[in-house]
Amino acid sequence: MYDVLIIGAGITGTMLAYELSQYQLRIALIEKENDIADGATMANSAIVHTGYDPKDETMKAKMNVEGARRYEKLCRDLGCKYKTVGAFIAACGEEEEAQLDILAGRADRRDIPYRWLSGDEARAEEKNLSDNVTKVLDFYTTAVIYPWEVACACAETAVNNGAKLYLNSPCTGIEKTDGGYIVHTPEQDLLAKTVVNAAGVYADQIAKMVNEDPGFAITPRRGEYYVLDQDADFVNHIIFPVPSEAKGKGVLAVPTVYGNTLIGPNSDYVDDKDDNGTSFDGLAYVRANISKTMKNVPLNRSIRTFSGLRPTSSDPDFIIREDDEAEGFFHIASIESPGLASAPGIAAYVAEELIAKRIPLIKDPEAVMTREAPVVLSELSEEERSELIRKNPLYGRIICRCEQVSEGEIVDCIHRTCGAATVKGVKKRVRPGMGRCQGGFCEPLVLGILSRELGIPMTEVVLDSLKSRILESENRS
């Protein structure tokens, strides 16, 4: 029997598994998809907001501030990228400037540092900032991360500490038993004393398995983005319009950890919890609205568009609590923005304030809460590269020319704990296919490496889900 079973291996679920893995607990993490971080964690703005935006006295504010406070050390411990870039909240005209004062007031009450810039001062630092911008509030400690990298690192560390990860294991039903729950999946039934529902857009369906009226419903809210080429040289800071009640944080320009730019998102409610396709109108909205804060937007340097689904609920705040009727069953639901930034705060809160009331948390002296960072060849000096290649010549064969990823890095990410078993899994972890050719050159090579390392035929290597086969058959000739 597991002490804690977590449903959903997104950033929230993996972060909680990591947090709990420091204790003497038997932990299971179940995920319906074929890899970690396949839902909202894979498709968002990738920002560690400092916590100025949520209203006072909300869980969002509390978790965001706590999460942001923990992130830098966490990324250092886990060998993940964490890049402080700063966030410009750009006001156009007096009315919007007044909104900035409200944000600054919240920041003061939460000890979040910021500085004021005039429009011209801001344009001196950001050449593509719109001429209409009159005043900027710069939250200069705001950072960007690779969300899926953090989720993979959390899962890897938790599993190394003894947690069990079950992929392709959608929860099909839950039964209450003496002292716990039986969680049904297609392959097996899992027993657990406590269960945490971190199922993202499906959190309401999971909740209904233990409580007919859980008190919330999730309506996915889609956000669509453009990804611009690294050489587009567009922004250095994250650029936000002034947030509004109706439209949330608005359309942003985000410099990513590896130098691409994200432009987006829009915000559209959708009915289908799986509908993460892009839309003509959604992308048109992004194109039209980025010009509120930015000029010279190089959308012709777009290398990809994508969309993600925010698990938005009827409750404007995060829902983080024990179920009203099901003792030992905890919901982490409605984790829309700033969910990524809040994840470490949520994990600590759920462990210490919720789970601890049902199960004693005793530190495991053998738990290792750090992870050796994967090698990023392109960031090493010539001497370091040569040394590495002498030890393992696979690091001398570059597979992805755009991101300069070597075969050694790919092989390492396949064989790590919770390693990549799919083309997208490799892309998530070490980036071949993230660049301007989008895998045009490297995908066949990555596929070959996966086939060799996993000992499966080429035709069985998948893009992402079990059914997403890339090759149909061997050819006739």
């Binding site: 050489d231 001398g396 992402d464 059914k467 050819n475």
Partner: protein, 420 residues
Amino acid sequence: MRNYQAVIIGGGSAGLSAAVTLKKNGIEDIVVIEKDMEPGGILEQCIHNGFGLQTFKEQLSGPAYAERYVRMARELNVDIKLNTMVTKLTADRHISYVNPSEGAVTVSADAVILAVGCYERARGAINITGTRPAGVYTAGQAQRYLNIEGYLVGKKVFILGSGDIGLIMARRMTLEGAEVLGVAEIMPYSNGLPRNIKQCLEDFGIPLYLSHTVTKTYGRDRLEGIDIAQVGPDRNPIEGTTQHFDVDTLLLSVGLIPENHLADEAGIRMDPVTRGPVVDDYYMTSADGIFACGNGLHVHDLVDFVSLQAERAALGAVKYLQREGKARGNTIKVRPGEGVSYTVPACVHPEDPSGNVEFFFRVRKPMDEAVLEIRSGDKVLRTLKKRKLMPSEMERALITEKEIAALREEVTIAVREVQA
């Protein structure tokens, strides 16, 4: 640090041709750096016929054409570093590369020839909405899977873009037993060579939908279908013209882009139209001693011209090395005029011409009857009648050494459509 007389980046058709030319002209201390396990570049996966009519006066397959240059290079003892990726180039001609046997190394060169090739525009660069399942490939990617790796990517196929690789893959996949339901082209005319339209589509009864584009993809795991729609003159889809196709495969043949990353990082000036470096009549870029040729300079439709241009770039490098410096005197710009999208080279040296200069250019739209006019200021250097011009077919025009020496004002190359 090891210094070479010349380093050639890329061992495809351009790089090999440049290397052979350097050797034939007495430049001995050279190396070709190739990322792949074999020399030959993209030709290795182009197993269809039709290469070499200009150069060798016979029809060769891609690998056979490459083999001719590989053999010439071997006979001249050209040093080719295989499995080696150049990671950095600087304007002062330091080249950093990585390979399994030497590790990470930086060398310098008196001259560098960029022969880096191009890459295919991917889905993200065009507006296709919908899901992002397996089953969407660039045409060249599917070609590699089929011709190098030996796998067919799907059974029911639609192709977006009537560029040559897309057309060739339509035929190739049909011959391998796949069903190709159609090819959509956003422009009102095809971007492929006319002979490929005939031999790859018409001969197999594959419909070509001109002024159409793919608007949406369906399927969560593997592609299940696509929508196509007719587009208006603004290239936006026209409402009510959507057609659906159940397919498991979508190939994209929507343009090639010179691989300009190294040049860009070295601060070399780029042409926003070709997206390759700007070069002068010696094929030298804005960086002293760095030359460019092949599809990394501008995308060609015939490999024969790649080889030819690479020879000229190599001759430019030879002159540069022999006189230990660049061409003398001012440059005169050569600009695309009416009806022309770009010209390569983009300037000449009247006080120190490289010789007769052949300009490569493309027209902006198809024209049945047209007049080519080359002017320098008010002076008309040349008027020529032209027939059947297509943006997909590269055009050439010569200006003689004597004419170049007499140039005082900017040159424009223009093509005007005339009524027959």
